[in-house]
């Protein structure tokens, strides 16, 4: 019996490991080609480089303000995610703290907003941002991303329903005002969901393509995703140079993945169960 199980496990490994390598092949393809010359890459796309070169990375850093673009992306992501989590959690707290006609109406209205796709509001939003003179600014991008607060609200309010209400009630009787209860009791209690929702929103903002392509038009305001799509038109023939861009853009996501995998999987399970 044990032998059969062992054999089954070996067979599974023998099938699954090569398949997983096949799925990961595009990432190997990206990485290995950054060390090749143009000619080498076109005849030998999957092999190891014939002669090792750093030129592609050098040309990347001399052609684009990579560090600044990285800084832009971090700035937009951190500020917008912090604001949307704050906004969403405040609304979720008020919803739990005091149920009234107002809270029921607000809950319904937000559900309505949740069902309106981005594509339906994007044109008026664009005109609005242009009218405010915020087009091609990082702050304009952040303002648009705040729409994500509605998603944060739904995930957080679902989690808050599982938090014991007695703690809040006790603090209320002790005379703590709502601001104090929110900041020093509720926020620490809901830390797990704050992490999960932040991880998901960071992935959304960091990876978003549609918003920066619409609202950003100058290279020094680029985000990393835009950098990649501009590099592809700049390096139409120089494929290895583009692969170097891809590596630079993918490395932060790889690091993020390694450290946040647990929270992503948790969020997949909990978020989807409750959502």
């Amino acid at each position: 019996m044990r032998l059969i199980r062992l054999r089954a496990s070996v067979i599974t490994s023998l099938i699954m490991i090569p398949l997983a390598c096949l799925v990961g092949l595009p990432f190997y393809y990206i990485a290995v080609n950054t060390f090749k010359t143009q000619a080498d890459m076109s005849v030998n796309p999957f092999g190891l480089p014939k002669s090792f070169t750093w030129d592609n990375y050098v040309s990347l850093f001399s052609n684009f303000p990579v560090l600044q673009i990285f800084g832009n992306t971090v700035y937009v992501t951190v500020v917008s995610v912090a604001l949307m989590v704050l906004t969403g959690s405040m609304a979720a707290f008020a919803m739990i703290y005091r149920r009234s006609k107002v809270s029921i109406i607000i809950g319904g209205v937000l559900l309505g907003a949740f069902l309106v796709p981005y594509q339906t509001t994007i044109i008026p939003l664009y005109k609005m941002v242009v009218a405010a003179g915020a087009v091609n600014t990082l702050e304009g991008l952040i303002a648009i991303y705040l729409a994500g607060a509605v998603f944060c609200y739904f995930i957080i309010v679902g989690y808050m329903r599982t938090v014991p209400f007695e703690v809040i009630e006790a603090a209320r009787i002790d005379g703590a005002n709502p601001f104090r209860i929110y900041w020093s009791i509720v926020l620490p209690l809901i830390r797990p969901v704050l992490i999960t929702v932040s991880v998901f929103q960071v992935m959304w903002v960091w990876n978003d393509y549609i918003t920066p392509t619409i609202f950003i038009s100058s290279p020094e305001k680029d985000t990393l995703v835009l950098l990649a799509s501009q590099a592809v038109s700049q390096f139409t023939i120089n494929w290895p140079a583009f692969m170097a861009v891809a590596v630079i853009v993918l490395i932060p996501m790889l690091i993020f993945f390694i450290f946040m995998q647990r929270y992503i999987v948790d969020g997949l399970v909990n978020g989807s169960v409750k959502g």
């Binding site: 990206i30 405040m90 937000l110 069902l115 509001t121 044109i123 008026p124 005109k127 692969m243 996501m253």
Partner: protein
Amino acid sequence: MATMTASVVTDRSRNRIRSRAASNLVERLQTYAFYVPIALVFVVLFAIPFGQSVYYSFTNLAGLSPEYHFVGLANYVRVFTDPSLLSGLVFTLFFAIATTVLITCLALPLAVILNRKFFGQRFVRAMYFFPAIPSIAILALVWQFILSPLASGALNTLLHDLFGIGPVPWLSDPTLAQISVVVVGVWSLTGWHAVLYLAYLQSIPGDYYEVARIDGASSSQQFRYITLPMLAPAITVSTLLLMTSGLNVYALPQNLTSGGPGFATYTITQNIVISGISEGQYGQASALGVVFMIAVGVVIVLQLMLSRRLQRS
């Protein structure tokens, strides 16, 4: 004396009631303050633009000219008659349905396998999962090099070296381009959904399988009568996510094929961005946005009804 005490007492309790009412009002106002940020977000980013979009969709508002008038349903009629708009609608639906079906059929068995113990399990799981993490825009750009229809494209070089097959027009033939977009979509999300199923699988009590094994159920019977019914809620969630993300598809075809060749891989969102932002056809693009919202709503309702019926039977 007695009456005085009584009146003092009532005075006090009245004061207390009054102060409690006042503190109640203060607390209520304080609670409302928590709604201010989300109310701002709702009004500025949802209510106003949504209202404007519906309003524009009945006008011929375009470009920089401030003059426009009502055109009734003309924009809506064009959504269903203009060939480029129509092909965007058709390909988006095709993509959403094809990726949903394929990913579900692949992710379910994958999750069952990943639930077993075998050497290299953690590596395999992470490898399948990872393509969902980076921006699909960047991955699509990379796939553009792999699937390049030129003889120097990576896949074409490989096929030539291994089998001597001439360059395959992966992205330049309309049908192959559509298939390529779907394949890259499936590649990027199958692992993600397998992990979602895996999480539900791990919550199925082991006793169920134990009992089934004692009763002599084969492993395919176990899958059919235990695993699949227990996964029903997960299937609902996963297919719903896939359908909505499929209908929203934009970055993938935009970066892999730019909607081409011709309009073969054109999507609704690409249409809205191009006609609404680049060409300034606000009226027309808004009508498309409204149609899109209704289409997504209808698909979600239909799907929920279907899955509820399946779960009952």
